[in-house]
Amino acid sequence: MKDWRYRLADQRGTLIALALFLLMFTIYIANHPAGLTANVAQTAANKGVLLAFIAMAQALVVITAGIDLSVGMIFLLTNCLASWIVVGAPVPTALGVAGVLIAGMVCGAINGLLVIYGRLQPIVATIATGAVYFGIALLLRPFPGGSVNEDLADVFTGKLFGVVPSSLVALAAVVLLVWLPFRRSEIGRAAYAAGSSESAAFMSGVPIRRGKFAAYTLAGLLAAVGGLFLTFFTYTGEAAYASGNGYTLWSIAAVVLGGVSLYGGKGSAVGAIFGAFAARTTGDMLFVFDVDPLWQPLLQGIVLMLAVSIGAFGLLRVRNRLEWFG
């Protein structure tokens, strides 16, 4: 095979997710009464980026063959924290933003420490830390409320030059500043190697612990960015258990739709972003087709079920039945 074909095969999951999203978004826009105007794009982007950030966070951990069931709770915690400290004059606001991001990183780092050095299974460890993070969020905001620097919020939720949704620009900036450097660094490769085969990576002298720790910490950071954006959209902080849980579950769905393997070592956070957009567009499509909102969860579930079943076609290519048990 030529070089480019390997590269294409490496990005297949991401490209399929992109194609899926583009297909769904085209259908959505074609049936939207207003067509593709700047406002429609802005609304769609603002709805999509929240899940996109959480899905990126989840993707980072899933690449190391782990799972983070506390992302939704870190998201809530940082939302509640932001509704306290991202206020006032520019300098306190900037400090507040930094504080929120650091809080997210600390949450992610705690998960990483428990999983790597505590040798706990990621599923149960993050369930437990998720309960703790939700408790802290509830301490911060027993009742929905608070406020945020609205000028800053409007900058991040509005349009750049009157056309481009600025939330999308922020998402692209996060990809450029967090994901790409991580992916291209030694640490990032170590995270992939740890997910692909931990013992082989260890034997080859790859710094797997540092790689996994970085992945968990950055996942906390990305979840905090998501929490910050939630505050920008709603102007308030709210510790809603169902919402945090929902984001956690949909982040796993988005990661899978985005071509990231739950067994680790395969996929990219960019794919997870398109997976998140595709998942969000399902909801929007039901809206333009005038489906009764009551049917929305059911149709979303069926779409999700069909989407994950597509992976089963790979079974047809299996020559040796033992490969079933991967």
Binding site: I67, L114, G118, R119, L120, Q121, I123, V124, A125, I127, A128, T129, G130, A131, V132, Y133, F134, G135, I136, L138, L139, P142, S199, F202, Y241, A242, N245, L249, I252, A253, V256, L262, Y263, P293, L294, W295, Q296, P297, L298, L299, Q300, G301, I302, L304, M305, V308, S309, G311, A312, L315, R321, L322, W324, F325, G326
Partner: protein, 327 residues
């Protein structure tokens, strides 16, 4: 006489040696919790309180029994919340169809759970989709079905008398029926896991599905059955809960997913599958129920309860749930 004493003394150390350290620790933690609770109020050691706790624990216990089967296989079932709700709502709905409906309410609800479990099982076993994602999708589908069914509101129909009796009545004076149900389910689980080939196969698949397959076990069928049983037990737990609170409500299952996983894992079952005893799961269920109860009796606000709950689980896992150092 001396021979008898020798036999007994010879037996006890073996019992202790054979006991799973995780199970012993979990029971130790239960005693510790009761002790701490009794320092706060002497009511914690009263028979009434303990029976009440067992009754509340029995709902979680029935659900955790099913969850344990799936975790022993090395899989996980995230569809518990809405399968529970679906089971409860369908049982309440069936009771609306006269005397026949009322008689078939419980079997019908459980069957609905089994149906959702079968969907999970087919996805995991035959389509080879990771269990986490199939069960997640099933959860959303079950939620969607129930939202459509109820029209977005809590249904008006309340739990039929038979269901209420099963959850809150007394056959044996003083012993709530829910506890008897849990005992029956537990007996069946112990028999299934220890004495049937299905149970032994479940352990085998959890250790190595490949090896089990090569030994001639139709592993895919076993996985599917385990998921179906898990769905059925989740629905049954939901029905009991509906009987306890006398109606089926939309979000009733949300509070049961994480505790059911935590109970199984705290009881010493490996989340990677293949290892664990049912007694440990019982200990885990009682432990979690007691912890929640003591925190609420102490009038700890919800926030503090969540934090302590999470910290205790992490601490206990660090104490005995760590993976072996691989190198």
């Amino acid at each position: 006489m001396s021979e008898m004493a020798g036999r007994i003394s010879g037996r006890f150390p073996r019992l202790i040696r054979r006991a799973d350290p995780a199970v012993v620790t979990a029971f130790g933690c239960i005693l510790l919790l009761l002790l701490l609770g009794s320092l706060y109020s002497s009511n914690f050691l009263s028979l009434d309180y303990l029976l009440q706790q067992l009754k509340v624990a029995s709902f979680l216990g029935v659900i955790a029994a099913g969850m344990m089967l799936v975790i022993l296989l090395g899989h996980i079932d995230l569809s518990i919340p809405w399968v529970m709700t679906a089971g409860a709502m369908m049982a309440c709905a069936a009771a609306g169809f006269g005397a026949v409906g009322a008689a078939l309410a419980i079997p019908f609800g459980v069957l609905c759970g089994v149906a959702f479990g079968l969907v999970n099982g087919v996805g995991v076993a035959y389509l080879r989709i990771p269990s986490m994602i199939v069960t997640l999708a099933t959860n959303v589908v079950a939620q969607g079905l129930m939202v459509v069914y109820t029209g977005g509101f809590s249904p008006q129909d309340s739990a039929p008398p038979a269901v209420r009796w099963l959850a809150t009545g007394f056959v044996v004076p003083g012993l709530p029926n829910a506890v008897l149900v849990w005992l029956a389910v537990s007996g069946a689980m112990v028999f299934l896991l220890g004495r049937t080939s299905l149970g032994r196969t479940i352990y085998g698949i959890g250790n190595s599905e490949r090896a089990a397959y090569l030994s001639g076990v139709s592993t895919r069928r076993v996985v599917m059955i385990a998921f179906a049983v898990c769905g059925g037990l989740a629905a049954f737990g939901g029905i009991l809960l509906a009987g306890y609170s006398s109606k089926a409500a939309q979000a009733m299952g949300d509070a049961y997913l994480l505790p059911s996983i935590a109970a199984v894992v705290l009881g010493g079952t490996s989340i990677l599958g293949g290892r664990g005893s049912y007694l440990g799961t019982v200990a885990g269920v009682i432990l979690i129920t007691l912890l929640q109860s003591i925190l609420s009796v102490m009038q700890m606000p919800e926030a503090g309860r969540q934090i302590i709950y999470g910290v205790v689980i992490v601490a206990m896992l660090l104490f005995y749930g760590r993976a072996p150092a691989s190198r």
